[in-house]
Amino acid sequence: MAEERPAKWGLVVDLDRCTGCNACIVACALENNVPFVGEDEVAYGRALYWIRTQRYWEGEYPEVTPTFQPVMCQQCGNAPCEPVCPVYASVHSEEEQINLAVYNRCVGTRYCANNCPYFARVFNWFDYELPEPMRSYLNPDVTVRRRGVMEKCTFCVQRIVRGRQKARAEGRELRDGEVQPACVQACPAEALVFGDLSDPESRVSQLARSQRRYHLLEALGTLPRVTYLKGVGNHGG
């Protein structure tokens, strides 16, 4: 069996490619059993988007232009959400080097969410029941969260684990691009690239070295694993 080395999963968001079409939101929601909450709840900021596109406006009419920036959990290397959880429901995976949200351990103090500078965490305010037969499309690989539980983007860890198990069973290492989160897989503009940052040859590593790279709120020292590539000209954030 091939020797496995710990991976550092990373994501690159090329804002010059990103159009703000939001396909990633839906791809994520349906892969991860994220419930929809309805108009009133969305209006009150209780939508459960694991990834959302921040759209700001730049300039004045007629030079006005929106800037789109998809923001998901940044899978910080030094995550502010982790140490504050009293029950280890928000922990760092030594194996995958990402932040885990352990739903079944969560007691719902919501401390992690307050302490996340990216607002990447969302809370199950209620039990969001699906009418029959809509439950049939729930992804059995992902736990359906009940009320009172925190959740967030996991880099589709279920796909990572499945991919690893498959690779191990076949006695090989994971190939670059073999595992992709749902958002990366769907992104029509190919603005999202996912891969192993510890492998300098992987596509994500190469892109993450781009001169256009930056991290969100870099000054906080959270060491995000999501790298943004600046838009060019007046385009992109």
């Binding site: 995976s93 194996e95 885990l100 079944n104 690989d141 736990t143 684990v161 191990r168 069973a169």
Partner: protein, 178 residues
Amino acid sequence: MRVKKSWWQSGGIRIAAAFVFLILFGGAASGIYLSQIPPEQPIAFPHKTHVALGAQCAYCHPAADWGPNAGLPSLSKCWGCHQQVQKKSPELEKLAGYVQRNEPIPWVPVAIQPDFVKFNHQPHVRAGIACETCHGPVSQMTVALPQPRQNMGWCLDCHQRMRPNDFVRLSDCATCHY
């Protein structure tokens, strides 16, 4: 001065307290008991007999080797043998009935984990763990019996004992929970 009987010594209070205790304790006990008894199965399948006849676990549960679920044999697999052998016992008649109606047998799962535990048979089988390690001495059971105390500490304990060098990975929350 006569010492008055204290309020907590009064009969009513004591009976009420005993009642509350019984309800709580009884509820907990029956809950534990119910999760430990084997559930009623549609057919009292004798594992013992089949194992004694030399059937390997993987003959009927082959998917343990390549997937997360060990799987249950399809009717045709049962019938493949049993249409040859005698069908004297009432249990076999039940089987024949299902075959006749082409209706799946509604087995009740015994060895189950909660839904937030993502268990995969394949890595365990590939690592050479014998089925009996977790499922108990099935070769001596008729219907499968639930094994007690299959909890997180049990998983971790085994992971630590079997793979001390790989414990970081095997104790990672994402190994089982996502």
